[in-house]
């Protein structure tokens, strides 16, 4: 039996069950944070820093406090000063504690100065107008070169800034994180090469742009506890970080995530909840804070801009003899993800191709620009642009088809990479060999769909409109091994339905549905028997949350184990009811059946018996899971584009996005993840970027000026799920959500070269940038 054929006999898994909340959402029923706000809630508004780098000399809120409708004002003078990290990560975080609820220093345009809670939004805004602030302007730092320069202004000069674990952090040099490793010898490897390369690539600031902005509602429950309803990907981290920042016990806080309107990583951040909770404590009232779109762009999290220098050597036969990646990124004013993102640039990219001599050096620096956070693809997106661009150049140098060059070099089933062991998150990584890997098949199917055999060299192409094809191979991970934990519990009800309680966080991905399918498969029942309740710190078991492509693989296995636990109890009671030894019964189709098929009791009967009739107890299964591996999903992307050499405009004629995500628990949802990730990647590659004025203020803070793709922009997209089976995942599954965003930038860069001979090492590929590259190529 071929590996992927193991998935053949599943009944609930590998089936496109209807997403359980789809109709509720399509009808517009109350679902999101803002739908649960009492009409008398106070409205919070923030005074944001207009300066990129300044010290607050004087801050006077006395007039604001007396304004009509104002119930409270928060500023550094009246809140606890506790250094913390806003990133929702494992604890202790591999990240600097460099943030305060409010500080005397502002570090980017859009940093917090003071907040008002008032009866109406208009009153809150009016109160902001009368807050008096005197700033002492400091020299800002806007570029990596400025941040790294000797004697550069120090962005975090506060005494409290520190990382809670022993890893490199030098705020006096604006250095947020530094990781380095070497396997084999880069220098020695380079000497064996017939061709050597040394290029530098730049990637832009970009944003997630969920349609629901960040929203947080805090209320004081009748018990006096703080009840936070928030658009978060990390409810348990939210509870921990808010408790720390407010200096209140974790026990006093409940965090609930209702449905949320998209996240893509930006809601892995505790950006609002400390303030809403503090206002609720101060006023005893329900307090709502919702970012508007401009605030979401300026203060919300972004994708880390990277500068990546890649050096490599290749032999004429296609052997890659040496790779050196030097990745430097800009974390903006705070460093929450500085270490992890740069680690992922190496760890999710360098293992893809065979090479015995790999060196990696990654650094993150502070600047006085907007703060970068977790964004789908997380470091891999940026590094794949460099790696996959260089792969094409290496192939051209040795005169090999770039697809064939990738085919002879990519990692196979059963192979490891020294990088897996060398690069972890704040510590060494976890050695791993790749289990499931259908990349070879992804390439074959993708090439066929795009008609790769028709690809022609750019040198023969003439005329205004020139067509080109490009490709890229990609991988990601599934969870952070030995660090992430997910847990679940599952209990039976009178009628044989089940409550599935998970800490895992569905941010629109459909994970509640996927986890219900996994539970139903294990329990031999139907997915619609599952009542899923997720992400409530009072009621559901712990889960680190939705990030690092972990939910299906990690939380899914916790669910499977919890369901297996419940199933053991069901078998026990079913056997008791049938008067048979437990070895002589089995579960099938929501019933316990005797081995001879003659006797059966349904789950409803078993539940009623166990709850009401004899030897009563609650059938309830519970389990936790940590992972020992982070199996990569693999993908091969292909595109054909048409370049207008007069205007520089790129038209995407066809885009093929293949993916190996192991067993697709829900193929329709897996396709949806792949379609969404791919189009987001296309939009990022072609149009999306932050534009700043000379004072560091983001200039295009609206969807009118920061364009994300619309239905009209959407090019022909061909999604191909290529099956495989990951033995360590629930029913063969691994992750699906992130990897697809990594492809478009290198695919288009390679296609542009194939069309015109112009090689770009930065994007987005706006007409201006493309035209400049074409002109530069023509001069050569």
């Amino acid at each position: 039996m071929k590996r992927h054929e193991k998935a053949r006999n599943f009944k609930q898994v590998n089936t496109s069950v209807t997403k359980i909340d789809a109709l509720q959402l399509a009808l517009g029923k109350d679902s999101y944070v803002a739908d649960f706000v009492p009409n008398d809630a106070l409205i919070i508004k923030m005074l944001w820093s207009p300066h990129a780098h300044a010290r607050i000399k004087k801050l006077d809120v006395s007039k604001a406090e007396k304004m009509p409708g104002v119930k409270a004002v928060l500023w550094y003078g009246n809140v606890p000063r506790i250094a913390h990290c806003t990133a929702g990560q494992g604890f202790p975080e591999p990240s600097p504690y460099d943030t305060f609820m409010f500080d005397k220093k502002v570090r980017f345009v859009g940093d917090r100065v003071a907040a008002v809670a008032a009866e109406t939004e208009e009153q809150a805004l009016a109160a902001l107008e009368v807050i008096k602030v005197e700033y002492e302007l400091l020299k800002p730092v806007f570029t990596l070169d400025e941040a790294m320069a000797p004697g550069a202004p120090v962005i975090h000069d506060e005494a409290e800034a520190h990382v809670p674990i022993p890893i490199p952090y030098e705020p006096k040099k604006n250095l947020v994180a530094h990781v380095a490793c070497e396997a084999g010898s880069f220098e020695a490897g380079l000497k064996q090469a017939d061709f050597k390369f040394d290029h530098t690539y730049e990637t832009p600031y970009a944003q997630h742009c969920p349609i629901e902005p960040y929203t947080s509602l805090a209320q004081i429950a009748p018990s006096g506890r703080i009840h936070i309803t928030t658009s978060t990907q990390v409810p348990f981290h939210c509870r921990r970080i808010v408790a720390k920042t407010l200096d209140v016990p974790v026990q006093k806080i409940r965090v609930v995530k209702p449905r949320i309107g998209g996240g893509f990583g930006c809601k892995q951040e505790i950006l609002l909840d400390d303030v809403t909770a503090m206002f609720a404590l101060r006023t005893g009232r329900a307090c709502l804070w919702q970012f508007n779109r401009e605030e979401t762009f300026r203060t919300g999290r972004t994708r880390h801009p990277f500068r990546i220098r890649l050096q490599a050597g290749v032999k004429k036969d296609g052997t890659i003899t040496a790779i050196n990646m030097e990745a430097i990124n800009n974390t903006g004013a705070y460093g929450g993800h500085g270490l992890t993102v740069v680690s992922c640039a190496g760890s999710k990219v360098l293992p893809l191709y065979h090479c015995e001599n790999i060196k990696f050096d990654g650094k993150s620096y502070y600047t006085n620009l907007p703060v970068a956070g977790a964004y789908r693809g997380f470091g891999a997106t940026q590094a794949f642009f460099a790696m996959e661009s260089l792969m094409d150049q290496m192939a051209e140098a040795i005169g090999m088809d770039p697809m064939k060059f990738r085919q002879i070099n990519h990692i196979r089933e059963g192979e490891g990479s020294p990088i897996f062991a060398a690069l972890g998150e704040g510590r060494e990584g976890t050695p791993m060999t790749v289990g499931s890997n259908a990349l070879a098949e992804c390439i074959v199917q993708g090439a066929e769909a795009i008609k790769w055999q028709d690809r022609k060299d750019w040198r023969g192409k003439t005329g205004r409109y020139r067509r080109g094809m490009g490709m890229a191979c990609l991988m990601q991970g599934s969870s952070i091994p030995d660090i992430d934990m997910g847990a679940a519990s599952i209990k039976i009800n009178d009628d044989g339905s089940f409550n599935l309680l998970v800490g895992a966080t569905d941010l629109g991905t459909g994970s509640d549905t996927v986890l219900a399918q996994i539970a139903a498969e294990e329990l031999e029942t139907a997915t619609d028997k599952m009542i899923v309740y997720s992400s409530d710190t009072d009621l559901t078991p712990f889960d680190v949350g939705a990030y690092a492509s972990s939910t299906t693989y990690l939380s899914g296995e916790a669910v499977r184990k919890a369901a297996a636990d419940a199933k053991r109890q069901i078998l026990h009671t079913g056997a008791e009811m049938l008067g048979l030894p437990v070895e002589q019964v089995r579960c099938e189709d929501s019933a316990v059946i005797s081995a001879d098929d003659k006797h059966r009791v349904t789950y409803g009967d078993i539940a009623k018996y166990s709850l009401y009739q004899k030897n009563q107890y609650q059938i309830i299964g519970t389990a936790s899971h940590i992972t020992k591996k982070s199996p990569p999903p693999f993908a091969a992307h292909f595109a054909e584009i048409e370049v207008d050499t007069w205007t520089g405009f790129i038209k995407v004629l066809n885009y093929v996005s293949t993916i190996d995500c192991g067993t697709a628990v829900n193929p329709q949802l897996a396709e949806g993840q792949t379609e969404g990730g791919t189009l987001n990647g296309i939009s990022y590659a072609l149009t999306e970027e932050y534009l700043f004025d000379r004072d560091g203020k983001m200039q295009n803070a609206s969807f009118a000026d920061y364009h994300i793709y619309s239905m009209r922009d959407r090019p022909p997209l061909n999604i191909i799920l290529v099956p495989s089976y990951e033995d360590t995942g629930p029913f063969g599954a691994k992750s699906v959500s992130e990897v697809s965003i990594n492809g478009a930038a290198p695919v288009f860069a390679n296609a542009l070269y194939n069309a015109t001979g112009a090689r770009v090492r930065e994007f987005p590929l706006t007409p201006e940038r493309v035209l400049k590259a074409i002109k530069a190529a023509e001069k050569k």
């Binding site: 789809a22 959402l25 399509a26 009808l27 449905r259 309107g261 969404g676 189009l679 609206s702 793709y709």
Partner: protein, 172 residues
């Protein structure tokens, strides 16, 4: 709370109602305050379409319109389109196609599609895109939304007699 001296009267989902308001209140804020919370806030800038409602049958951004501008007009929100027992045709197809991910954009999409279906007689792709272009989605890549919409429109077109091929009232 501030005292309100202004009112606005309009037909909401077929029912004529009078609401207290202020001259600077947006229609979106009024609707959500009055319980029509299926209409979402996404940008407040008239660019994302999450707040799309129908104003006299035309798709309109409720975040840009002042509530008092709706005086005497007919407003329709997502609440008028379907229920759990009887979802609208497009809503049914969206669910079947797996087109609802986070779902935040979906009510707006449904309203724009409603305007399309109730205004146009032929549903060529270009006309459809014209109507739907003002509704942004970040989750789906629009693939499954498109599939669901095309299915809905094709069904409706085959149920109707053939008509002339012109776009009547695409959203400005």
């Amino acid at each position: 709370m501030t005292t309100t001296t202004h009112t606005v009267t309009f037909t909401i989902n077929g029912e004529k109602k009078t609401f207290a308001t202020r001259p600077d209140e947006k229609l979106l804020t009024l609707l959500r305050r009055e319980g029509y919370r299926g209409t979402k806030y996404g940008c407040g800038q008239g660019t994302c379409g999450a707040c799309t409602v129908l104003l006299d049958g035309r798709a309109t951004y409720a975040c840009l319109l002042y509530a008092m501008q709706a005086e005497g007009r007919k407003v329709r929100t997502i609440e008028s389109v379907g229920t759990f027992d009887k979802p609208g045709e497009f809503q049914k197809e969206l669910v079947a196609a797996g087109a609802v991910q986070c779902g935040y954009c979906i009510p707006g999409m449904v309203m724009s599609a409603t305007a399309l279906m109730e205004t146009e007689e032929v549903f060529e792709d270009e006309i459809v895109k014209e109507y739907m272009d003002g509704n942004l989605c970040r989750c789906t890549g629009y693939e499954k939304i498109w599939v669901a919409l095309r299915k809905t429109l094709d069904k409706q077109a085959s149920a109707k007699p053939a008509a002339k091929k012109t776009a009547k009232g695409a959203k400005k």
